[in-house]
Each structure stands twice: as C-alpha cells, then as structure tokens.
C-alpha cells in the first residue's frame, strides 16, 4: 500500500497497456504492481534502512508521505540505472545528512553507541566476577563438619538439586 503511490508512473503504463476495457477479461494471475519486482524488493530492503524525513519516526519503506514517495521513486530510478546500494545511500546522505540513516554509520561520534552494549556486558560481567570473588574471600571458611552433619548436608543438597527445596 505504501508502494502503491510511488509506483504511479508504472501503474499508468500498466493501465495504458491493458487498455480501457470496462469489463475485466478472463480471470488470471494478478500482475505484480511493480515494473520490476527484483528491483522493487531491493528497493524495499534499502528503504527499511532509511528514515522518512517528514514523518514521526517511520522508515522510508513504510511511509505514505509525498516526500517519501518521491525519494522511493528517485531510488528506484537510480537502481534501474545500475547504481549500487552504497552509491544510493551516499547520494541521500550528501543531501540529508546522517539523519536519513536508521543504521547509524560507525564514526567517532557514534563509537560509544556501537560499542556501548558490548561494553555494558563486559563491565557488568567483570563487576559481577569481582564482587563474587570478593565475597568468597570475605566470608569465613566453614569449619569441617562432623560425619553426622555431612550425611545430613548430603541429603539436603539432594533435595535442593531438583528445585528450590524447602520453603522458608
């Protein structure tokens, strides 16, 4: 539906070529809306990575806005001319800046963004390990148990192994 508006020129060609017959012909397999489904698929995949500049946070693929339709048409033509995805993205970034990319480019200013998640895990993991090691040291060593206590402990541990054990 979002593509429908964008493929208006293609539609006109399609309609024109099918003639202005009022009554439909024999039922047949519906024709794809786009001129070139391969390019269309590539267009949509790329458009998912781009931002609609006039919308409230929608991708270029999902948007109904006029500018979005214009940009999709522009991209479609560039793909038909044989330009690569990277060339198309560079073209748009030259005109609209990094804002148009939903996948932020990796630069000095976005290093923290891309490294952040891994950093969080590493920092969190090390803090946890340090905390666990420290508490193991901080707690006093257990005195050795008597045989009777050991047997009791063994029984309790077996109970616990299968779940949470006796409730408090």
């Amino acid at each position: 539906m979002k593509r429908f508006l964008a493929t208006a020129p293609a539609l006109l060609v399609l309609v024109a070529s099918l003639g202005a017959a009022a009554a439909p012909a024999v039922a047949r397999e519906a024709a794809p809306l786009a001129d070139d489904p391969v390019i269309e698929k590539r267009l949509m995949a790329l458009a998912e990575e781009l931002r609609c500049l006039v919308c409230q946070n929608q991708s270029l693929a999902d948007s109904h806005a006029d500018l979005a339709a214009d940009l999709r048409q522009e991209i479609r033509e560039m793909m038909q001319q044989g330009r690569s995805d990277k060339e198309i993205v560079d073209y748009l970034v030259a005109r609209y800046g990094d804002f148009v990319l939903y996948r932020p480019p990796f630069k000095a200013t976005t290093a923290l963004l891309w490294a952040g998640p891994a950093l969080l895990v590493v920092v969190g993991g090390s803090m946890l390990t340090v905390a666990l090691r420290r508490r193991r040291g901080a707690l006093a060593d257990d005195a050795p148990l008597s045989e009777e206590e050991q047997a009791r402990v063994k029984r309790l541990l077996e109970e616990e192994a299968d779940g949470e054990g006796p409730r408090a």
Binding site: M1, R3, F4, L5, L11, L14, V15, A20, A21, A22, P24, V26, A27, R28, E29, A30, A31, P32, L33, A34, E40, E48, E49, R51, C55, Q56, N57, S59, D62, G97, D98, F99, L101, Y102, P104, T109, T110, L112, L113, G116, P117, L120, V121, G124, L128, T129, L132, R133, R135, A138, L139, L157, E159, E160, A161, D162, G163, E164, R167, A168
Partner: protein, 658 residues
C-alpha cells in the same frame, strides 16, 4: 456540574495524597502508631476521590459533554460507545488520570493484602506511593487538567483519532499502565526498606509477588500493543523499536532482571543492594518513559501532543523522584550483610549473569533511544537510531540469556558443577541442534538465523520438559504436589520459547505479494490462492468504507472470505486501512487494500505470515506463568493468616490505647 465535581475530586485527592505521603512516613520514623495506622485509610480515601474524578470524566465522554475541552478534542456524538469510554485515555490529560487511577488501585491492593507485614513497613510503602501520586496529581492540576472547560461549548467534537478507534484502545493502555505503575510497589518497598534499615531476605519475599504481578501485567500490555499495531497499521509489522515502545520495553527488561534478583536475595539473602537498585531502576524507567512520551524530546508516532511547560514539569518530577531515591540508596544502602556464601559456579551466579545480560539489554535500548538526543545536545550533529541498530544489538544479548534459561533451573544453589550440568544437558543440546537443522528444512527454508532461533527455542522447551520431569519424579505426590511457583517459572520460560519460535519463523519465512487485481484475478502466496471479488461501498457508524472481498483457496477448496477495507472517517476525513486477517495456529493470512487503479481494479497487498500469533501467545503464556507463581501456597497461607493477624493486632492496639 459533573466536570467541576471531577475537578474538585482531584484537588481533594491531591490533599489526601499529600497527607498520605507525609503522615505515615513521619509516623513510622517517629514510632507513632496512630500516624502509622493512618496509611490505609488515607490511601483508600485518596483512591475514592481519584475514582470519582475518573467516573466524572467517563460520564462527560459518554454524555457528549463538549463543554469540556478534552472531550471536545477527543470525542464525537457518532463515536461508538466503547470508544467514548476508551477515549477517556486517548489523549494526554486523560491518560494521566488513568495513571493516577492505576496508582490508586495498586495502593489499595497493597493496603488490603499486607496484613502480615509490619505496620511501619506498610506505612512507608503507602507513603511513598502517596508521594508519587502527589507528583502526578499536581502535574494534572497545574498543567494538564482534563476538566478544563471550553466555553462556549463546541457543537460537535473533533472525534477520536481513527487509528485509536479500535478494541486495542480499550485494553492496551489500561494493561500497560497497570504494569508501569505496578513497579512503583517494588520501588516503594525498596525505599521503605532503605528508610527503615531493614533490608533482608524477608523484604525480598514480600516484594516478590508484587513485582511478579506488575511484570505479568506489563508483559500483557506490551504484547497487546504489538498485536494492535500489527493488525491496525496495515503492513503487518509488530515491533518498530519506536521510542515509546522502547519506553515500555526497558522497564520490562529491568523488571525481569528484578524478579530473578529477588529470587537470589530471598533465597540466599545476598545482593540486596543490587536488588534494591534494580527496583529503583525499573520504576525510574517507567517514569522516564512517561517523560519521553509527553515532552517532545523524541519523535514518535505514539507521542502525545507536546508542550515545553509540561516537559519541564515532568522532568522536574522525574529528577526529584529518581534523584531522591538514588540519594537515599547511596546514603542508606547497608555496607554489611553479605548473606549466604555461594560459589562462582552456582545457581545464584547464573541468575546474576541473567541480570547482567538483561540490564545490558535495557541499557542498550536506552542508549539507542537517547543517543540522537545526546549528540544533538552536544552539537555533534543529528543522527537517527532505528531498527537496524536495535536488532543488531539486542539479538546477540538475548542468545546467551536464552541459553541460561535452560541451565539455571538445573543448577544447584550455593555450588554447582558445570561438568555435571553439561552431562545432564547434553541431550537437550543435541535435540536442539537436530531441530535447528531439520525443522527449517521441513518448513521450506534454511538460514543460519532461522536455525539459531529454532535451536534456542528447542533448547528451552526441552530443558523445561526435562526439568519438570525430574522435579515431578522427585516429588512425593507427583505433579499435583509440585508447587505453583515452580510450575509458573517453567511455564513462563516455556512462553519465551514460544515467542522465539514466532519471531524466528515469521521473520524468516514470511511471504508478501504486491499485486494489481481485477475482479476474478488470483494471486498465490504461501501456498494459498487469493481471488479478488471486487469492492463495494459500505457505510459505517462514523465512517464510509470501501470494502473489498477476497476468497481464499487452499488448492481447490475455498476456505473463507476476507474483507479488507479502506475507510474514510467522516469527522477527521482521515483515510484508514483496515487489513483483513485470518489466523490459525500456524499462520496468519493478511490482506490489505491499496488504491483503486482504474476499471474496478485495485492494488492489493497479500501477506503469508507463519507462526506470527505465537509471538503474542508466547507472551500470554509468559504472563500466565507469572500469575501462576502468585497462586502459590505460601501466599495463600499468608492471606489466611491475615485474618488472624488482624484480630491479634486489633487486640494489641486495644491494649496500647488503654
């Protein structure tokens, strides 16, 4: 008259909330039994007036009172009744009233189900919740009054946004807000513990059911939102990493971590500081979400109408609430009391690793959501952070987490042997690998990502089954004697597996066709054939619809008719696409009308979405698991004891008064 009553009720509620926030906490600090005991009645009183205000607003909507500005902006005489009621929370002011209403509900619930708790603790908890209510009620009364008058009254309302005229509006926001607000209970418990200095395993045990209840409700709220956008927006997406969606997801992630951390603290008495901090974080993220949605700081399709004055107020409120709780934490977090000893390899460690991963995930979502703002504020340019970033960052964090779901329940408390775990779980892993190799091929398409998803889901499912079997065998009395809190846990984990199946298969195997259809034309998608039977004009209650008819065939057999619509709502003249969906257990068939392309032909988009309903069913199973743990015997025993405790306390108070 009614709006004025509502307005007055809010003012009275604010006064009561102020008393509720101050008196019980002061009383608990001073050991004053009368002031402490004032908590419950004050809470009940405040809620009564909030409920009164809420009913007044509902009445104004239902009676089409367009002399109330909020009603005039969001309703219409032709609006169906259920949307008149739901429209109460369709805009900023009314949704705040819903927030406060939910807060009142939770406060009354705490007041009712806390007879087994010491009075000073209850007083502090209710007091903190009262202070939060003060903030929201003031916000409403000073900047966002839902009862503001429009004089002279409008002849007709501006109608509710057509996107909101849907059953989704009736359930999603109430569930969501109930969840958001529910985390305030755990938050209040944490602050109460910090204030009293009593931070121990018992506190964890008391907090746990409240946290689980809020978490379960929030899970449902988020799932409903996802499902609603799926069928409503017309192109079959179900998660967009939109800032407002992220605002609900972050508290959920931290809430999940909190549930697991509470388990460690309750069982072993350790990591109390961390658990308290998590509880503060969870609710802080709820408040942060409230700020982000209403301040205009981020762009979102969900955002309410923004106003800088409101943004400043909420930010101030956020700063005070979170800032004071973090300051209280810094000041009062105990330095001693490490709790039980446990090994580096133990169930406790695995649960805490779960925490690291979940908090890292929440942190990543926060980072991605706020990064554009960060760079802009520093003058470093403007960027966008969208689904490509979130997907590439979130999935790698989830993989180890899901792996842990299988291991954790098998690990022993205090000390466990990884070698032994590996021995016990190798068959489960093998089964997962087999499923990952075979199932995608059977379903028609094998890619590494699909295989990974199947591996994770199968791993969880098999380990849950294996763990359940082991537990049942070891329990005298069999399945019936297995405690509910354990069954709930396994059910919730199983729900995760179901969600993973849904996400993996719909992302990997969905098919789509965008075609031009004349009457009689057919298109084949996902093994089903769709025949276009034309479009007719159909008037609706407050819209005009062009309704298409498509017949779905499997082979030669006609299955059913689908009726996608293109609606124009009369008042807002906004065109809306209503997709037609038919679901069964293993797939959704989704049809959307595009535009007429001449001579009775239309552009139509057809989707085959396998297993997409498993996403929301899985979430429902997770929530169900959570609720099941609440029905555990230990809580039922406690409730039974409440009556005896109340009687005993009544006697003691009688003694003290004499």
């Amino acid at each position: 008259m009614i709006p004025e009553i509502g307005h007055l009720a809010l003012i009275i509620a604010l006064c009561l909330a102020l008393l509720q926030g101050v008196i019980p906490i002061w009383g608990a600090a001073r050991g004053n039994a009368v002031w402490t005991a004032a908590a419950r009645p004050l809470a009940l009183g405040q809620f009564t007036f909030v409920a009164l205000a809420f009913s007044c607003l509902v009445r104004s909507f239902v009676t089409d009172d367009f002399s109330v500005l909020y009603v005039a902006n969001h309703a219409n005489t032709a609006l169906p009744l259920q949307y008149k009621v739901a429209g109460v929370w369709g805009g900023h002011e009314g949704s705040l009233l819903l927030w406060v209403f939910m807060l009142g509900l939770w406060t009354v619930a705490v007041a009712a189900f806390s007879r087994h708790l010491p009075d000073e603790m209850v007083a502090r908890v209710i007091g903190v919740m009262g202070l939060i209510a003060v903030g929201f009620l003031s916000f409403m009364l000073f900047t966002s009054n839902p009862f503001e008058r429009l004089l002279p009254a409008a002849m007709e309302g501006a109608d509710l946004n057509p996107l909101l005229q849907d059953p989704g509006l009736v359930v999603h926001p109430p569930m969501l807000y109930m969840g958001y607000v529910g985390f305030s209970v755990a938050y209040a418990f944490s602050l109460a513990a910090l204030m009293s200095g009593r931070l121990d395993a018992t506190w964890a045990r008391w907090s746990r059911p409240w946290t689980t209840a809020a978490w379960g409700v929030l899970t449902l709220g988020i799932a409903l939102g996802s499902w609603w956008s799926y069928y409503e927006l017309g192109w079959g997406g179900w998660w967009f990493w939109d800032p407002v969606e992220n605002a609900s997801f972050m508290p959920w992630l931290v809430g999940t971590a909190l549930i697991h951390s509470l388990a460690v603290t309750e069982k072993r008495g350790g990591f109390k500081n961390w658990t308290v901090l998590l509880a503060i974080f969870a609710f802080s993220l709820s408040l942060l979400g409230t700020f982000l949605v209403r301040s205009g700081v981020l762009t979102s399709v969900h955002a309410f109408a923004t106003d800088p004055e409101r943004g400043v107020f909420i930010l101030g409120f956020l700063a005070v609430v979170v800032g004071s709780s973090l300051a209280l934490y810094a000041w009062r977090a105990p330095k001693v009391g490490l709790g039980g000893k446990f090994d580096l390899s133990s169930r406790e460690s695995l649960l805490l690793t779960n925490n690291v991963l979940l908090v890292a995930a929440a942190g990543s979502v926060l980072l991605g959501t706020l990064y554009p703002l960060l760079l802009d504020a520093l003058g470093l340019g403007k960027i966008s952070v969208g689904p490509p970033y979130f997907n590439s960052v979130f999935v790698p964090l989830m993989v180890p987490l899901v792996f842990l779901i299988g291991i954790g329940p098998f690990a022993r408390w205090k000390k466990t042997s990884f070698a032994e775990l590996a021995r016990r779980l190798k068959w489960a892993l093998g089964a997962g690998v087999v499923a990952a190799v075979v199932l995608p091929l059977v379903l028609g398409r094998w890619t590494p990502l699909i295989a990974l998803g199947i591996l994770m889901a199968a791993w969880v499912a098999v380990t849950v089954g294996q763990n359940l079997l082991t537990r049942v065998r070891a329990t005298p009395g069999g399945f019936g004697a297995v405690p509910n809190h354990y069954l709930g846990m396994e059910l919730a984990h199983l729900g995760v597996a179901v969600v993973i199946v849904g996400v993996t298969l719909v992302t990997g195997l969905e098919q789509e066709k965008d075609v031009r259809m004349d009457v009689g034309d057919t298109a084949t998608v996902g093994g089903y054939t769709f025949r276009f039977d034309g479009v007719t004009q159909v008037p609706g209650p407050n819209y005009e619809s062009r309704m298409g008819t498509l017949t779905v065939f499997k082979g030669d057999q006609a299955l059913r008719r689908l009726h996608p619509e293109k609606r124009i709502y009369r008042v807002q003249t906004m065109p809306m696409t209503e997709a037609a969906i038919t679901s069964n257990l293993v797939r959704d068939l989704y049809v959307s009308l595009g535009e007429p392309v001449g001579a009775g032909a239309w552009s139509v988009r057809i989707y085959y979405k396998p297993f997409v309903s498993w996403i929301w069913s899985g979430a429902a199973i997770m929530a169900l698991g959570g609720f099941l743990t609440l029905t555990d015997q230990r809580y039922r025993l406690l409730l039974g004891r409440r009556f005896r405790a109340r009687a005993r306390r009544g006697e003691a108070a009688g003694e003290a008064a004499r």
